[in-house]
């Protein structure tokens, strides 16, 4: 039998007001009284009824999530990992989710409906596209939100958390160039997503700075799956002058790429170098590859957790996090990169 506020207050010989205030950290409550309340809570196992809190405060205590279900989106692996982070943090604050699986064409409507329903007090957007209309829409919605990623060619005047994709792939490409590679291929994520665009730009910049051309035919966009990675790499390897190095936008893509490399009998790290972006998926660790992969690393789960923290802090008006964060990915060198082979 769970106690409620009223009973707790009676037990303590206090009013509900005081107990409530003691629990919610209001200053106008005697330190000693607060201690009494706190220990009573511990004894009785009192847990405030969330529905009542929500009703009283007008806060829904939940975050709206639009889960992409399109085939073209790498919803599965990466989304799951991100969600774990989000969930981890949310549960700590007793926040709920409203998960809306939605096809891309319905997403805007889904967001609107969610916001209008009053059943969530924050929204979250991911898989940002080049000039994403959803961001403007979210801004107009007068409900807190955080974007995972950020748009291109739009003022970044909204809350976001992104990794510096440009820098990550700039660093990766530069390493390869320093190792003597001249023909570097890119197996990227979907062409319309901003992280793909930025990664390509980072690579281009590194090439330019070193007076090297960027060969469009050595750049492919694909879904973030093993299969597409394999296919893309295969095509690259069939060329007259195959690349001596390749950048992959995900370890999942790298999985397929490595497979294609092995198939033609090339030795990874010797005959051909590979750097992949590592989202730190527990199921696919770069160090577990038969030749451990050099990667640009940034944990997707950490990002999820951080976004939840920011969203919740915004809702509860507690603490303050920066409104915009750009995380730097670490470049971690393992065995899949080596000097360009003498040609």
């Amino acid at each position: 039998m769970n106690v409620n506020l009223k009973q707790l207050a009676e037990m303590l010989g206090l009013s509900q007001t005081t107990v409530s205030r003691a629990l919610n950290g209001y200053p106008e409550v005697n330190a000693e009284t607060r201690q009494r309340v706190l220990s009573a809570v511990r004894e009785t196992g009192y847990r405030p009824n969330r529905a009542a809190q929500r009703l009283a405060t007008g806060r829904a205590g939940s975050i709206g999530l639009v889960m992409p279900i399109a085939q073209g989106i790498d919803s599965d692996v990466h989304f799951g990992e991100f969600l774990a982070g989000l969930g981890e943090e949310s549960v700590r604050h007793d926040f709920h989710f409203v998960i809306n699986p939605s096809a891309p064409e319905d997403e805007e409507a889904t967001f609107k409906r969610l916001a209008a329903s009053g059943n969530v007090d924050a929204l979250f957007l991911a898989y940002v596209r080049a000039n994403d209309p959803r961001i403007a829409m979210l801004k107009s919605l007068s409900i807190p939100f955080v974007v995972h990623g950020r748009a291109i060619e739009q003022p970044a005047d909204y809350p976001f958390l992104d990794i510096d994709n440009t820098a990550a792939f700039y660093d990766a490409a530069r390493l390869l160039i320093q190792l003597g590679h001249r023909r570097i291929a890119l197996i990227n994520g979907p062409a319309n997503l901003t992280f793909s665009i930025r990664r390509k730009k980072g690579m281009q910049r590194a090439l330019e700075e070193n007076g090297l051309p960027f060969d469009e035919s050595l750049s492919q966009h694909s879904l973030m799956t093993d299969e597409y990675g394999h296919r893309a790499m295969q095509q690259f390897l069939e060329r007259d002058e195959p690349p001596t190095a390749v950048l992959c936008s995900s370890t999942v893509i790298a999985l397929g790429a490595v497979r294609a490399i092995n198939k033609v009998g090339l030795q990874l790290g010797t005959d051909i170098s590979l750097i992949a972006h590592d989202d730190v998926l527990p199921m696919l660790k770069p160090e577990n590859f038969s030749v451990p992969l050099t990667t640009t690393r940034s944990s997707l789960r950490a990002a999820g957790s951080r976004i939840a923290a920011r969203l919740i802090s915004r809702i509860m008006k507690t603490g303050d996090y920066p409104d915009q964060e750009l995380w730097r990915a670490e470049l971690i060198v393992r065995a899949s990169t080596g000097p360009a082979p003498k040609s």
Copy 2:
């Protein structure tokens, strides 16, 4: 500005009671009145405040989900797909989730805490293990739940949704036997999960019935990843007498297995046959493999959706679904199976 019940009732010149009843389908309300209410709802865009509903009814309107985060669990791909189904159905009834990422050793505690918190009114359990103590625990918790899968060697006296894994792999193995295969390998999921155990049993039964031995050394358990699939298949192919056919517990495993097969230059469907279980993952379709895969098919997303429907119906005490369901997987023959090669 959203209207609330009170305002709506005033507009209609009715009491809140009547409007509420009209909306919730109570019989004692005049058909004509109900129509008036309904059209007023449409005009005003009235949406009941869920927090108030929850408080008044005592129902939390949300489902507790323990999300496995262990490395050993195929949380990612399969869980994501399942979740999409769950979300799809839940959102239709305006139900929330409480997602608790949790390591296996903490799962029981997590469930207990969830149930005790009163913030969820149903729980959901997946990744059932052989003699799973969590089921008994759930039964003791006096909160509705549905198990995805079912235990072994325990009375199945609890609500579950499972697929007939035994039958699926029995069917698959029998097909291979009919095609003349004698050495059939199995690349299964984790050894402690019930679906793995049943699939193995199904295969064993098919062999027995045809007077064939089951070769333990041709059976492997692994994580449901490409990598492990590849490794397992590779080992099988290195044997003196490699198998002429293989069953895979997931298309993800099959991905790796096919890779290993290609690597040694064998032709799938001719030199060696393969049947995989297909959870209908949008990112990995058996028909997209270079040699389309014969599969036992059962949609994970459909299962998620169904479980949500059952859970919600139980909570709302509407409609009635069977308490226990055993879905039959379909055996779909494609090009990856063929007659056993003459030896």
